[in-house]
């Protein structure tokens, strides 16, 4: 429970997010690989991570969210390795008594993951070769 995970496995196949009966709300965010970026066609991408620090920093973000909001359960996972179009790159799930804190916490968590967790994306474009960021 309440864990941040890095995985090469498909996030769509993650175990079910266990939610207590006190939670009236579950908010989920799924970040997916889209078929275009800045006007160019994407056919796949891969993510690399600094895994030792990525897991620590991701966990710190979830722990901070649990302090800032009244949440029943929270989970986040990020893919590493090669991903195809439409596959999930990141998922954030937040269970809470009411939807207000759930939406707020979920939005905050994904923004913090994108800003703080050492992960990098390599996009493979249909019209040329790799661009690293």
């Amino acid at each position: 429970m309440n864990r941040f995970v890095l995985t090469q496995e498909r996030l769509e196949d993650l175990q079910e997010f266990k939610v207590p009966v006190s939670s009236g709300s579950v908010v989920s965010f799924w970040g997916r690989v889209r078929n275009h970026n800045e006007g160019r066609p994407v056919h796949s991408l891969d993510y690399s991570a600094y895994p030792e620090l990525a897991v620590k920093e991701g966990q710190r973000i979830l722990d901070e969210a649990l302090k800032r909001w009244q949440l029943d359960a929270v989970r986040a996972a990020h893919r590493v390795g090669s991903l195809g179009l439409g596959e999930a790159a990141v998922v954030v799930e937040v269970a809470s008594g009411h939807r207000g804190e759930g939406f707020e916490a979920c939005r905050w968590i994904i923004d913090e993951i994108k800003a703080r967790v050492p992960l990098w994306k390599n996009e493979h474009y249909s019209d040329s070769i790799t661009t690293a960021s």
């Binding site: 970040g31 993510y47 690399s48 991570a49 600094y50 030792e52 620090l53 990525a54 620590k56 920093e57 990020h78 790159a89 990141v90 994904i110 993951i113 994108k114 800003a115 703080r116 967790v117 050492p118 992960l119 990098w120 994306k121 690293a132 960021s133």
Partner: protein, 83 residues
């Protein structure tokens, strides 16, 4: 500069790996802090990103740019791009 010669392992991620042509290296340096080590490596590899965009880690924790070189491994990271 001007410190004792120390042997360090350096790791790179993202764009820095491409520019250095490797994911890491072991080297000898006289640098005494992270900023000095970065300047030395930037000159050697021709890194194109400005120092202020780079984050560093020692012992698998983010560290200050002015932090002394206190660990056997220093990691340099370009701006993160997850999600």
């Amino acid at each position: 500069m001007g410190g004792l010669l120390v042997t360090l392992k350096v790791r790179y991620f993202g764009q820095l790996q491409n520019e250095a042509g490797c994911s890491g290296e072991t080297l000898e340096t006289q640098a005494t802090n992270v900023a000095e080590l970065w300047r030395e490596l930037a000159a050697r590899h021709g890194f194109t990103l400005e120092a202020k965009l780079i984050k560093a880690a020692q012992d698998d924790e983010f560290c200050d740019w002015e932090a002394p070189l206190a660990s056997a491994e220093v990691v340099f990271m370009p701006p993160v791009a997850g999600g």
